[in-house]
Symmetry: C2
Subunit: 256 residues, 2 copies
């Protein structure tokens, strides 16, 4: 899961890792452009990068509406894929178009089989069961600053926010997690990714992943809060993890 704005022209550290995890030179990658309104341009851009890294089998799967989401061609591609990559755009377009469809079911099945599912920006946001749809940046936590909905549930135990430090989004991540404090909040920076496997998370890339954990919080006023009132949160646990750092999602602890 990439926080958006990953390097596509230079060393491509993150996309390189995605390809490696998808099988390297033998990877069969499907690029899902459902989130973007410019599927052609965005898709071509990823084809260019993945081909430059030596992947021979890269396909674009564009699903503009729920009818497309039944496409047998796309289902076949997913069936054969070793890696599926969701581009950025609007995360609600992903869930509106794909949630509950055959393609969604196929993706979840292949993900359980062990293929790599990745995404950037909107394509990262949608990975959780509770997804941030939109919200205000650069403000203090209140319920009104963030709208959440059901995500695509590849990683149910978290809430993901992207462009995190670059857009000052800790307020909205805290507000999203405050509603469901059993979830862990992951704020992923631009050109930075979180690789999850076997409930372990590893950070790679330029900046950091910020994790907020409200489970042991000593106090919150969420139960009495109206929509526009200010959240109080006491004793929240915060981790800032740069490249190379690992975190155990099961024990909620950094692996040092």
């Amino acid at each position: 899961m990439i926080g958006g704005a990953e390097d596509k022209d230079g060393d491509c550290k993150i996309l390189r890792e995605f390809v490696r995890l998808s099988g390297g030179l033998d990877a069969k990658i499907v690029v899902m452009t459902v989130a973007t309104e410019l599927p052609r341009e965005v898709g071509d851009n990823y084809i260019r990068v993945f081909e430059r890294l030596g992947v021979k089998d890269v396909r674009i799967a564009d699903t503009a509406d729920r009818d497309d989401a039944r496409s047998s061609t796309i289902l076949e591609s997913i069936d054969k894929a070793t890696g599926v990559f969701f581009t950025g755009g609007d995360q609600a377009r992903i869930t509106d178009t794909l949630k509950g469809t055959e393609i969604h079911k196929a993706l979840l099945k292949r993900y359980r089989d062990g293929i790599t599912v990745g995404g950037t920006s909107a394509g990262a946001s949608m990975m959780s069961a509770t997804m941030i749809v939109e919200g205000d940046s650069e403000t203090h936590p209140r319920l009104e600053i963030v709208e959440t909905d059901e995500g695509m549930s590849f990683l149910p135990e978290v809430v993901i926010d992207q462009h995190f430090s670059q857009r000052g989004r800790i307020g909205r991540l805290l507000a999203a997690v405050a509603r469901k404090p059993h979830l862990l909040g992951l704020g992923i920076d631009e050109n930075t990714a979180v690789v999850v496997s076997n409930h372990q998370l590893e950070v790679i890339g330029e900046a950091s992943c910020t994790i907020v954990d409200l489970k042991g919080s000593s106090h919150s006023n969420i139960d009495t809060l109206l929509r526009d009132e200010n959240l109080a949160l006491c004793d929240v646990k915060l981790h800032v993890l740069p490249d190379g750092y690992k975190f155990d999602l099961a024990t909620r602890s950094p692996i040092l």
Copy 2:
């Protein structure tokens, strides 16, 4: 200490509280305009507000350079004042002009005597012994994004940042505190203030105060870090406290 942009035209909740703490209708207030390059305009603005709230004795003390900082008129005003208010501007102008001068000594003495010393934005930043001089907003924590220097030491045990949520400054506050983890980081939002008395802090105003506490942190990579490298911080304690919430600076715990 006010996070900047406090209401001066409406209900003036925060400035009202400053006046009340300074003695109410009998307050003698000195407005220190040293931080701003527009002392006349800024000073007149505060005179207008404080007079509207019923304070009869309001004086402007403008110290453009260190020579002014010996002014016996200003020293006399400070001697009689029940409240001293520092306007916004550039915090380095406050320390460059006043630090170590007779005025600074007089202010520290009167503060220990129990008068109210307040300030907004730059006037809040300078209150600590370690002061954020400047830094980058909306980015992840690294040493290079924040420059600190000695402040005016009214409240030695903290580091203060202002316009906090509004400018996405948690990265730079974490970076400032990471260097001196025995200090508590206070991020004060706009039109929001923190009132400190007897090592207790109370939040008033529109938004929140964010407190970061690195004392119990399980890991930091600060000792091996070069200037442009990313900070790793594990198990930082975070509190978000809105209006009415209190915090004990000695025990580092919210008072619930």
